[in-house]
């Protein structure tokens, strides 16, 4: 209400009534002229005037004029000029943008007015097809505003527009034809429109691809001079990205259509690039191209797609081109960073590409492997953080599923026979591992740990690595040095890095466990951390990690260290830490926010170095090992329990009957729960349906409200003296507001109800799971004492599942 009053005041504030019509009055008159005048010329003039007012008096023009404008679009089809004015006006009132003129009119313009008018316009499903039909009109005065109006609508209500276009015959085809436009402005806006339309809608993306979008876009890109082109190149690339992201079918089409080969010219850097430099547009365009390549080989795609795209990229010499950008000078840091990431994903898990990468040489004197140069940057504090992260990711990609590469790196650490003095990857990593920069420690530790993934041979090889510490002192093994450094460094990041390396190393490698157990103070350190109780600055991660390492020491212990046999360590955990505390600490890791973030994707994504504590492959290892560790510690207890049960075997029969009763009982309860669950689910659906209905009503009310508001504003103007009518409208609005509030309340109640149902349902589910587990346990026990035959028809479902999963004991 306030909004309108103040808006009106500024309009009415000046001259006394009668001398000059106010804006809203004018709008009212114009609208009526458009709808009643029989002369085309009159209507046209009125529409032109409405267009002029549609920014400043957007609300009035929209609320009063939308229907009339729509009529014009149907009736005055033959006159391009009036159609153009109409489309322009509609474009303005549905725009998401807030216009300067609006601000002059009102200090607090309604932010959603464009969206609301878009929604009103789209509510009638026949409206949009009319606009689509105007795309076929060649006249510039019609086609261009039609496109712009569609952009407005799509920006405000993408889902709705997408749905309507999909069901309107040839809707997408009409849009696609616009890419062949010879008037650049029109074509460029068509590209923009398509960008909005293809966002997160796989069906539209596929149709657009089918309609030869890639050919058309690549043609535009090449006409515009590839990455040297203007913003339209960037837009074309963004559209291509939309078509490919998470759309396997389109990626497959892109590859099969030989479009990858057509990207090659984009990666050619001019000879004199260092002199001419990189314009901001070129940087943007280049980013998009790199992003495009990454979309094709993203680790999220199906493996088959990744492999074939990687192969095509190599055969099209794009990998080569990317590597040369890597080694070129004068490349801006963020482009370089993204290129490193891109190279990483192009070689990830692809032996041929990885091998190619191994042999890339940097043009230094003497030439060094690109790999070495990259690692140098990674352990260099002066390099930008993002770049260092990218190098680590690229290195990980190089090692991914690459036993040869892993061996190659580890080899450079072993006592060498050749006497080669050149700097090696291994040496760089080793010095980074123990340097004063905790981030270098972390990067190097993670990098080294990736040399060991699923590679027992390299785990053993790396054990042979010796380090000279102080002059004259005995050389120590790399692993013991890690154990020592772990206790000395005060930096959490360094500690966690080292611990991740150690865990990767010791998993499935008893000789590594043995060496680690012999590091002076190591076990005491782990025990102290695991039983510590401070909880700040991510200390829980450190404690959890130490617990994890202790668990690995139990799991992969070959009992060769006297004081730390499997049995001893289990005792240590049980007595000194307590199993419950231990499990709690272990759980801390997977519950941590940084764990969730790291486990999401292989690429290291962090804004700041302090966020780098955990890493993807470690998370994978942790997930696999956590269960085994708990089992290893728990199983031993169960064993001792089992023995005591066996000694009771005289009562076998009685026991058996008892258990059978119990199972029957639980079965009944289970069914009961299932019944209840089904019932609740039905109720839940019902309430949800009710809620949706209410929401619908609510939306309608809000619309009516907006309309009323607008109508009232003009009504108030004209009937300025007839206050009672004003009051009348005010009353209606108050009424509506009250209704709205009531509905809101009802909605809130329903939502609360819904939530409580949902909670009930969750509880029931939990109960079901618990019962399930219990049941299984009982049965397992029965089976152990041999009382339960393998087949049982009384509680078929659960036992069947179990038999499927486990190799039978009988």
């Amino acid at each position: 209400m306030e909004y309108f009053k103040s808006g009106l005041k500024s309009v009415l504030g000046g001259p006394p009534p009668g001398t000059q019509p106010t804006g809203p009055e004018t709008v009212e008159k114009l609208v009526s002229r458009v709808s009643t005048s029989t002369l085309l010329e009159d209507r046209r003039d009125a529409c032109r005037a409405l267009r002029a007012l549609s920014k400043k008096y957007r609300l009035e023009v929209g609320a009063q004029g939308m229907d009339v404008l729509r009529q014009v679009l149907e009736l005055d089809r033959a006159d391009p000029e009036i159609i153009g004015y109409c489309l322009d006006t509609l474009c303005n009132i549905t725009s998401k943008e807030i216009f300067e003129e609006e601000r002059e009119n009102d200090v607090n313009p309604n932010l959603n007015v464009g969206e609301q008018f878009s929604e009103m316009f789209l509510k009638n499903p026949e409206n949009l097809p009319v606009i689509l039909s105007y795309l076929e009109e060649y006249d510039f005065r019609v086609r261009w505003p039609a496109i712009k109006f569609l952009i407005s609508l799509t920006t405000c209500k993408p889902k709705e527009v997408q749905e309507i276009i999909l069901v309107s015959p040839m809707g997408m085809s009409k849009l696609m034809d616009l890419l062949a436009e010879n008037r650049e402005v029109v074509r460029n806006d068509a590209v923009l429109l398509l960008i909005h339309l293809t966002k997160s809608n796989a069906n539209i993306q596929k149709i657009v691809a089918f309609e030869n979008a890639f050919d058309k876009l690549l043609n535009i890109i090449s006409d515009e001079g590839y990455t040297d082109g203007g913003i339209v190149v960037e837009d074309c690339l963004l559209l291509m990205l939309n078509l490919l992201q998470n759309n396997t079918s389109n990626i497959n089409f892109f590859k099969e259509g030989s479009y990858i080969q057509k990207l090659t010219p984009m990666f050619v850097l001019p000879e004199n690039l260092e002199e001419i430099g990189w314009s901001p547009q070129k940087v943007s365009n280049f980013h998009c191209v790199l992003h495009l390549v990454r979309t094709l080989v993203s680790p999220n795609n199906p493996a088959q797609i990744i492999t074939s795209c990687q192969k095509t990229l190599r055969n099209a010499n794009l990998l080569e081109a990317l590597c040369s950008i890597l080694m070129a000078s004068g490349v801006p840091a963020d482009i370089l960073t993204e290129t490193i990431n891109t190279v990483g994903e192009v070689i990830r898990g692809n032996l041929t590409n990885q091998e190619y990468f191994t042999n890339v040489l940097a043009p230094s004197n003497p030439p060094r492997p690109a790999l070495v140069v990259l690692i140098m940057s990674m352990v260099n504090e002066k390099q930008p953080f993002a770049l260092r992260c990218a190098v680590l990711y690229c290195f990980q990609c190089f090692l991914y599923k690459n036993e040869i590469g892993q061996e190659l790196v580890v080899q450079t650490l072993l006592p060498s026979s050749s006497g080669n003095t050149a700097v090696t990857t291994g040496q760089l990593l080793c010095s980074g591992l123990f340097s004063n920069d905790p981030l270098s420690n972390w990067f190097s530790a993670v990098a080294l740990s990736h040399c060991l993934i699923e590679n027992p041979a390299q785990k053993e090889q790396l054990l042979r690595v010796l380090l000279a510490t102080n002059l004259g002192a005995q050389p120590v093994t790399l692993l013991s040095q890690c154990g020592v450094f772990l206790q000395h460094t005060s930096k959490l990041q360094a500690k966690l890095g080292i611990l991740m390396l150690i865990s990767m190393w010791m998993a499935h490698c008893p000789p590594a466990v043995k060496i680690f157990l012999n590091v002076p103070g190591a076990m005491a350190f782990l025990t102290a951390q695991t039983s510590a109780s401070e909880f700040d600055n991510n200390a829980e991660l450190l404690q959890g990690m130490c617990a994890f390492i202790m668990g690995l020491c139990v799991l992969f212990n070959d009992n060769s260290v006297q004081n730390y046999s499997k049995e001893n360590l289990s005792q240590l955990i049980e007595k000194r830490v307590g199993l419950e505390t231990y499990c709690k600490k272990l759980n801390e890791i997977a519950r941590h926010e940084l764990y969730a973030r790291a486990a999401k994707q292989p690429q290291i994504r962090a804004k700041h170095s302090s966020e780098l504590l955990l890493e993807f492959e470690f998370c994978k290892l942790f997930k696999i090992m956590e269960g085994s560790i708990i089992q290893a510690l728990g199983v031993q207890r169960d064993l001792s329990n089992g023995i005591s049960e066996l000694s009771l075997s005289e009562h076998e029969n009685a026991l058996l009957l008892q258990y059978k009763d119990l199972i029957r009982d639980q079965d009944k309860k289970l069914q009961e729960c299932q019944r209840k669950y089904a019932f609740l689910q039905k109720q839940f659906e019902d309430v949800k349906a009710q809620k949706d209905e209410l929401q619908q009503t609510n939306i309608q009310l809000i619309d009516q409200h907006t309309l009323f508001k607008a109508q009232m504003s003009s009504g108030a103007n004209i009937n300025n003296l007839e206050n009672h009518q004003n009051d009348n409208s005010a009353e209606i609005i108050e009424n509506l507001k009250a209704q709205l509030a009531k509905k809101d309340e009802e909605l809130a109640d329903k939502i609360a109800e819904l939530e409580s149902y949902q909670k009930d349902q969750d509880d029931l589910l939990e109960l079901l799971t618990a019962q399930d587990t219990k049941l299984n346990k009982f049965k397992e026990k029965l089976r152990q004492i041999g009382a339960l035959p393998k087949e049982e028809d009384s509680n078929s479902e659960i036992s069947d599942n179990e038999d499927d999963n486990k190799p039978s004991l009988l």
């Binding site: 999909l166 069901v167 015959p169 040839m170 809707g171 997408m172 085809s173 796989a202 069906n203 596929k206 149709i207 089918f210 309609e211 030869n212 050919d215 079918s249 389109n250 497959n252 089409f253 099969e256 259509g257 030989s258």
Partner: protein
């Protein structure tokens, strides 16, 4: 990798008749026993040889379910060939053919080659539609006809390749405007687009004569 021509196909027909299976058999030589309902449209591609020319087939496998009909219609216009599939063990899929055909004729370009396919020929014991009925329908509507089995791969190659041959012949006859991409045909990158009458139009007759396979 390079090709003389590229043809776009669509596969249409009721849900469950085996469209996706036919495509998978053709591109990957595999059979998928579980019905993996197609959502919208899926893409597949393969290279074939006709008249010693490399021809790339780009195939869009559409969803048969009614709910996707408006989406799949968008693919008719740009296709050079269509496989219209029914299931010989379900008569209703045969009965729906007229609807499909009307739809296709209405939305596609008039030269689109349509191949009628009675699929699941391996399930002879459950046959509900006689082969003669399929032949009659095809004759009546001017379609090419073939019974296939996506399971045993019987006639699958032939179905796709014969469709391509039809298109190829139409090109030779000059029926297709190959410079109009909306027809679902593209000329390979190394072939001159300025010469629509095509390399060795005369040679085709000769090769047809010698074509024994």
């Amino acid at each position: 990798m390079s090709y003389a021509y590229l043809f776009k196909y669509i596969i249409i027909g009721d849900t469950g008749v085996g469209k996706s299976c036919l495509l998978l058999q053709f591109t990957d030589k595999r059979f998928q026993p579980v019905h993996d309902l197609t959502i919208g449209v899926e893409f597949g591609a393969r290279m074939i040889t006709i008249d010693s020319k490399q021809i790339k087939l780009q195939i869009w496998d559409t969803a048969g379910q009614e709910a996707f009909r408006s989406i799949t219609r968008s693919y008719y216009r740009g296709a050079a060939g269509a496989l219209l599939v029914y299931d010989i063990t379900r008569r209703e899929t045969f009965n729906h053919l007229t609807t499909w055909l009307d739809d296709a004729r209405q939305h596609s370009n008039s030269n689109m080659v349509i191949m009628l396919i009675g699929n699941k020929s391996d399930l002879e014991s459950r046959r509900e539609v006689k082969k003669e009925e399929g032949e009659a329908f095809a004759r009546e509507h001017g379609l090419v006809f073939m019974e296939t089995s996506a399971k045993t791969a019987a006639n699958v190659e032939e179905a796709f390749i014969n469709t391509a041959k039809e298109i190829y012949e139409k090109i030779q006859e000059g029926v297709f405007d190959i410079n109009n991409e909306a027809n679902g045909i593209k000329i390979g990158p190394q072939h001159s687009p300025t010469n629509p009458s095509l390399p060795g139009a005369g040679g085709v007759g000769g090769s047809q004569g010698s074509a024994c396979c």
